[in-house]
């Protein structure tokens, strides 16, 4: 029982990070029908830039409280990632807007590889440790442990998602985004500058990615130039699980995938008599992805494809 609760907690924490990244995939897909495979790398850059900034702040003002230093890192990472996401769209995707759909997809994979290599050149191949700046408190609930950081990650993620939900549902920009997702041409006829809306979508998604990147590196205590690849694939799986293009779906899919993965990792040893260990946890995300693609390709909250035509 305590394993169950513990893994449920771990899964929700991981899931809230997946959800933040999945939102970036799903928002871009909703509007451009493009899978922005470089999005995982934007998350990685977020972590790397934040760590670099944290290092600088620690060197310049070591007397500052740890939380403030990390916050400083996040505040540098967010605009850096926004600029990166904005530039990727402008330079790599916009010129291909009228090209066959495979072209931007391949470009996205190319950008992803370029970003990995740039990160490797700048920050090296080694793992970079996340300095122990954050509160390390542990609490016990129902026989399981939850740390201050875990609580903080979940609360901040939920707050960001509520903010995003409100933006999309209730604001002028959100309405323009939803209209653009349904028909770029008709949205233009309404006076919507679709290019601005697309840029805004990349800016928002990249800001979320920056935050998620810092969260994941703080949570695991390290960052690496290759970390965005697996995180991106899992977040993409989460977006597909929830129904790609659907914002609530990305949130639901993120949490579900995190929980499935954590429970899977917790029980796989028992289930296979010790043959497979918890390092097989990555299998679950893709197992779920395959099941979804076979049995409900439109995802949990996605509409059937015919309804969109």
């Amino acid at each position: 029982m305590d394993i169950f609760v513990q893994q449920l907690i771990n899964g929700l924490v991981l899931g809230s990070i997946y959800a933040l990244v999945a939102l970036g995939y799903t928002m871009v897909y909703g509007i451009l029908e493009l899978i922005n495979f470089a999005h995982g790398e934007v998350t990685m850059i977020g972590a790397m830039v934040a760590l670099a900034a944290i290092g600088l702040i620690m060197g310049a003002a070591p007397e500052l409280p740890g939380l403030v230093i990390v916050l400083g890192g996040v505040l540098v990472a967010i605009p850096a990632c926004m600029l990166l996401g904005f530039s990727i769209e402008r330079l790599a995707y916009r010129p291909l807007r009228r090209a066959p759909r495979l072209a931007p997809l391949i470009t996205a994979i190319g950008i992803s590889i370029v970003l990995q290599n740039v990160a490797m050149l700048v920050w090296g191949r080694q793992y970079i440790a996340f300095p122990p700046l954050l509160p390390q408190g542990r609490h016990e609930i129902l026989g399981a442990h939850i740390t201050d950081l875990q609580i903080f990650i979940v609360l901040l993620s939920v707050a960001i998602m509520l903010g995003l939900w409100f933006t999309v549902r209730k604001t002028r920009l959100g309405r323009a985004m939803r209209a653009t997702a349904q028909s770029r041409e008709v949205a233009e006829l309404m006076g919507v500058n679709v290019n601005t809306v697309i840029s805004a979508t990349f800016l928002i998604g990249s800001a979320l990615a920056a935050i998620a990147g810092v969260m994941v590196s703080a949570y695991y205590g390290l960052a690496h130039y290759y970390m965005g690849f697996m995180l991106g694939l899992k977040a993409f799986s989460a977006a597909v699980l929830g129904g790609i293009g659907n914002i609530a779906g990305a949130m639901l899919g993120g949490f579900l995938l995190g929980v499935v993965e954590a429970l899977g990792a917790g029980y796989i040893g028992d289930l296979t008599g010790g043959f497979l260990g918890s390092h097989y946890q990555d299998v679950f995300a893709f197992f779920v992805l395959i099941l979804v693609l076979v049995f409900r390709p439109s995802g949990l909250l996605g509409e059937r494809v015919a309804a969109r035509a």
Binding site: R175, E185, L189, N193
Partner: protein
């Protein structure tokens, strides 16, 4: 000076020339129709005016060339299009669709008044304001598309096949509305396959065939023209 003036408009899709040098003009306050068979290039002409397709030739609106302006900028200058097939945002509510119509406007009080006006014109839309547009019938969607266009308080309203696929009673309702909008002073260019209907409500008309204007004149004369009668009025 005409409100809308189109000179030598040409539109290519790949190797096919869909619009081959169209000239037309719409004066302020007029209701002009553009009739012709399916595939004659009527919709392409409207798309050219709004900059939705690449084209050559000159389009002037209120004396200013529209060349080089993006569609959203043309829309913000007071040109609204009710597209063929209505183009409502199916997953937005009726109220949100109408809000989208007023997207470029900042005068909140005026928008509020126009919303009341649209709901008065189409009480059905008021009843269904919280429903998503995808759940509406075809006729209701056409009302919504027209209402949405009116929310921009257009100076020039382009209508593309507003009667298409609608029951006769609904067609009548839509056409009564079009005439009411015209009486309010909005300039209208009406594209229709249903020539009979279009010639009855309009003051002038253009006949389009294979990408070019073949006939034009007062609607009454066009309706009496033996060629038009044979080709478009089913006689």
């Amino acid at each position: 000076m005409s409100l809308l003036e189109v000179r030598d408009l040409r539109i290519h899709y790949g190797g096919i020339e869909a619009v081959r040098g169209v000239d037309l003009a719409v004066e302020e306050g007029e209701l002009v129709c553009l009739i012709g068979a399916n595939g004659a290039g009527k919709t392409s002409t409207l798309k050219g005016v709004l900059g939705l397709v690449a084209h050559s030739g000159a389009v002037r609106y209120a004396g200013h060339p529209l060349k080089g302006l993006a569609t959203h900028a043309i829309a913000a200058r007071g040109v609204a299009l009710v597209p063929e097939g209505r183009g409502v945002f199916a997953r937005l509510t009726v109220a949100e669709n109408l809000d989208m119509g007023a997207y470029s406007r900042r005068d909140r009080a005026g928008v509020r008044a126009d919303l009341d006006h649209v709901y008065n014109l189409f009480p059905r839309l008021f009843e269904r304001r919280a429903q998503t547009a995808g759940t509406l019938s075809g006729g209701e969607q056409q009302m919504l598309a027209i209402g949405r266009a009116l929310m921009s308080r257009p100076r020039l309203l382009l209508l593309d096949e507003p009667s298409m696929g609608l029951a006769p009673l609904m067609v009548q309702k839509i056409y009564e509305t079009i005439q009411a909008v015209s009486r309010e002073g909005v300039t209208l260019l009406l594209v229709e396959q249903n020539a009979n209907l279009a010639l009855r409500v309009s003051s002038r008309g253009y006949v389009m065939e294979s990408g070019a204007i073949t006939l034009s004149g007062p609607s009454q004369e066009l309706a009496a023209d033996p060629q038009v009668r044979a080709a478009y009025l089913g006689e």
